[in-house]
Symmetry: C2
Subunit: 213 residues, 2 copies
Amino acid sequence: MQEKGISQAVVGRLPRYLRYLGELKENGVERVSSQELSTLMNVTASQIRQDFNNFGGFGQQGYGYNVDYLYTEMSKILGLDREYHFVIIGAGNLGRALGNYLNFERRGFIFRGIFDKDPELVGKEVRGEKIRLINELEDFLKSNKIDIAVLTIPKTGAVGLVDMLVNNGIRAIWNFAHVDLNVPEGVQVENVHLSDSLMKLSYNISRYDREKQ
Amino acid sequence: MQEKGISQAVVGRLPRYLRYLGELKENGVERVSSQELSTLMNVTASQIRQDFNNFGGFGQQGYGYNVDYLYTEMSKILGLDREYHFVIIGAGNLGRALGNYLNFERRGFIFRGIFDKDPELVGKEVRGEKIRLINELEDFLKSNKIDIAVLTIPKTGAVGLVDMLVNNGIRAIWNFAHVDLNVPEGVQVENVHLSDSLMKLSYNISRYDREKQ
């Protein structure tokens, strides 16, 4: 498997495949053709085959794909055959919301702690974890193996934290701060820029209006 | 301007341009070349020119772009020259977090109400808006002009709401439920699938490990 050539666009589609395969599995479906997946997911069958070919194709197309096998392989490709431990930095509503998502845990993403700079929040609980002062984060990272830092703080704070996180073993940043982060090679960043997403919506509303005029 | 040919990939890059232009503007920069933007944003200058050409190019490249003009035009393209009114459906941590984001308001996205099915939440306030029972949503939409519905509820609830929302004037859905929604033509959907985003992170971590082996 040569993954170097696989674009982030393909990667972005993998979780959606996993979601649909999971639903098929739950419904007891054993085999599925690219044509059936295509109808279900509203993408072309050739796109599906092309995406799957990046990973070796997953078996005979003539008979359809084995749902269970495909689901398992897709999980492995997505790295879901191991656990990831994460901390949340920023215990505002968004940070607390993410701490409370049980679905992440089910996928192997283990919530290990939540930090904030506001002393008023310290000691309050988010799913069994007491909010800690951000000053304690560095020591915490030194004595615990944490893979992922979730940044739910304003952008100024986020930029200043990156070096410390990376120097203390953080391998990936899930970044909700509205800023692009510079990280060394080998450290992964995934951005969720909520206001950018909202602007795509306003663009599409106003584009629709412009085209109807 | 012929927008039909503009892909959602291009659209997805526009808010990032606006962000960088806003920062240049704040710093008092008057002109910027595609080369300077390229260095700043870590995309190729030719990508920038190509993206801008979709919208007519925004003036002389030899002298660089006028930052103020480009910012204003980009805002208009993104539909930010008008207001959008939104309601949030689901008053859990995530819904409340979104209700509290003042940045949305600054961009013209006006928070008008928040609804939940849990009677225990009713009457609590999110940024001056009392949480209402979801039964009241349909009447609320009939008597208020709301453009955007933000869905921060589980997927089963989300699917069942779509028709009612669309029949009562909702033009766009900002969907945080982990499901693909079917909407009529002309209704916009923007998905924020948080667990998909997290899986891209686990993919990139494990791919890095596979390549280092």
